[in-house]
Amino acid sequence: MVENEGIRRYVAHAILWIGIAIVAFPVYLAFVASTQDNAVIANGQMSLWPGGHFIETYYKTLFVGSSGTTREPVGMMLLNSLIMALSIALGKIFISILSAYAIVFFRFPFRMTVFWIIFITLMLPVEVRIYPTYKIAADLNLLDSYSGLALPLIASATATLLFRQFFMTVPDELLEASRIDGAGPFRFFKDTLLPLSRTNMAALFVILFIYGWNQYLWPLLITTRDDMQTIQVGIRKMIVTSDALTEWPVVMATSILAMLPPVLVVIVMQKLFVRGLVETEK
């Protein structure tokens, strides 16, 4: 039995390591490529060890930009992406928590109808309503603006649904105790519901930030100016398909940089997420 346990543990660990290698190797390769000289990569002689062009490439990527079609430095793209992803994540959380609050805690005519209308929008992601949404954004002069990048993606049935489910688990007595304690609807929301939703908001923020960060189609349509470009669109534009030589180190550095913010968000929020889970009890 004991030997069996040992073997099993080794097998389990081996499988885990293989999994990690499969996921991590391409990322490592991208990093290695970003530190090599472009000519070496173009010749197909790239080594598996990092080269000596780390500082040079990353400086160029962040502050100068590639010499190809997109001349915007990636620093700007990172900022654009960050603003868009943050606006989407925070905007979605703000709108959804308010609508969920209204749906769960207030009795008004057609409450369920409203809920179902919100629910139905789940079936209408941006890709489906892309033409009308573009038309509206264009008519409202939102092209090439941060509001244009974020606003059409903010309405979210998923987040509303999530908050609704959570709010429904909040015991009625808590609301009643608040009423007796003289807390009106706004105070109850601010003093009781928001602190209790912290965990949910943290979890949602992680998911929504990554959702916003990874947007490609919408930013591609809504932005035409290079300085409004997001990093996802920027990477694509750096890869030259015509005669010119793609600057692979810059492309790879951009990819690595594009991966960092979501990773950071996960690492930072995970702490809050776990702490919230441990502390909160209904």
Partner: protein, 362 residues
């Protein structure tokens, strides 16, 4: 300091379900009123109507000489202790107690003084910085009480506050709630389904069933003279024995009465080998079960040779028809299957009309 008056209070839910069918009673200043009844009898609804958490369909609720029908819970000058305590899970014990005072815009030093005073009374001083989930059930109960007393309200409302505690703690807290209420001499309305809690706490006991008040009064008066068979079987444990009664069957003479229901409390029955005392009642029983609880023993017996026992309908919480419980002091008891005779004197008998809705004085 206030009295609470309910005048013909009714509650009809949308859809036509009538939860409260006209309730009248008054709780005097500083009195402890207990609403007791089986689940679904409307006692909690009534309490929530006093609190302002449920609307009043018709009738009036008056707290301290002011009709509060249209007044928000926060402005009724009441404090409520909930069954699950409803403490704010993200706030410390201190903030749980201070929250209501802050919302009223009370000055910080005054809030601090009141919270510390309440914490001292309830012996939760060392726990003020903890979160509710770090407390035991009994401690949470104390915090919930603390949240009520810092407000110094006119009326305390308790909604089955002890039902989540274990038996031992429940008894301790019961005594403490009573002492606290006496000390603060604040009017209190307390809802429970536990008749023992009701008997021990109440100045005035209100027995409810099916949305109506069955009987109001001093607990011992209700015990001694239950007004209906429902009250008779609900107050007192084990419940009163109820058997069909025909004039002439025993030595009891009732003028001009065709029949009714006879009630005898288990503690009023004694075992005998002789005959019934003059004018009393006699049951010939076969012992079916025995419960020994130490200081007393309960004997469950089936009546011999009575097929008509089912004439007294069995309601929830009542005995199966035809079964008689005898409470014996000590541990001595007959054997199972033994035939015994239980008797009770005439002055221990209760007689009710055949529908069980009224009491006939013997």
């Amino acid at each position: 300091m206030a009295n609470v008056v309910l005048r013909n209070v009714r509650k009809t839910y949308p859809g036509g379900v009538e939860a409260i069918k006209g309730v009248d009673f008054e709780v005097g200043d500083g009195q402890f009123c207990v609403l007791v009844g089986p689940s679904g009898c409307g006692k909690s609804t009534l309490l929530r109507m006093v609190a302002g958490l449920e609307t009043i369909t018709s009738g009036e609720i008056d707290i301290g000489g002011r009709v509060v029908n249209q007044i928000e819970p926060a402005d009724r000058d009441i404090a409520m202790v909930f069954q699950n305590y409803a403490l704010y899970p993200h706030m410390s014990v201190y903030n749980n107690m201070a929250y209501g005072l802050r919302n009223r815009g009370m000055a910080k030093p005054e809030i601090d003084k009141r919270v510390r005073e309440a914490a001292q009374i309830l012996e939760i001083g060392p726990m003020l910085d903890r979160k509710p989930k770090q407390l035991s059930g009994g401690q949470r109960q104390r915090v919930a009480m603390g949240r009520a007393i810092v407000r110094q309200p006119k009326v305390f409302l308790f909604d089955e506050p002890l039902s989540n505690l274990d038996a031992k703690l429940r008894i301790a807290m019961r005594v403490e709630i009573r002492k606290l209420q006496r000390r603060l001499s604040t009017t209190a309305i307390y809802v429970t389904h536990d008749q023992l809690e009701a008997m021990t706490l109440a100045d005035i006991l209100v027995v409810m069933n099916g949305g109506v008040v069955e009987q109001i009064g001093n607990p011992l008066d209700i015990y001694q003279k239950p007004a209906t068979t429902f009250v008779a079987s609900f107050i007192g444990a084990p419940p009163m024995n109820l058997t069909p009664f025909r004039p002439g069957e025993t030595g009891i003479a009732v003028s001009g009465n065709a029949g009714g229901i006879l009630g005898v409390r288990p503690e009023d029955l004694t075992l005998t080998s002789g005959t019934a005392p003059d004018g009393g009642v006699r049951y010939d029983l076969t012992v079916e079960a025995i419960e020994r609880v130490g200081a007393e023993t309960f004997v469950y017996g089936a009546r011999n040779g009575t097929a008509d026992a089912a004439a007294v309908s069995s309601r929830p919480g009542e005995l199966p028809p035809g079964e008689i419980i005898v409470r014996l002091p000590g541990q001595a008891a007959p054997a199972i299957g033994e035939r015994i005779v239980a008797v009770a004197p005439r002055d221990k008998l209760h007689l009710f009309a055949a529908d069980g809705r009224s009491r006939i004085e013997l």
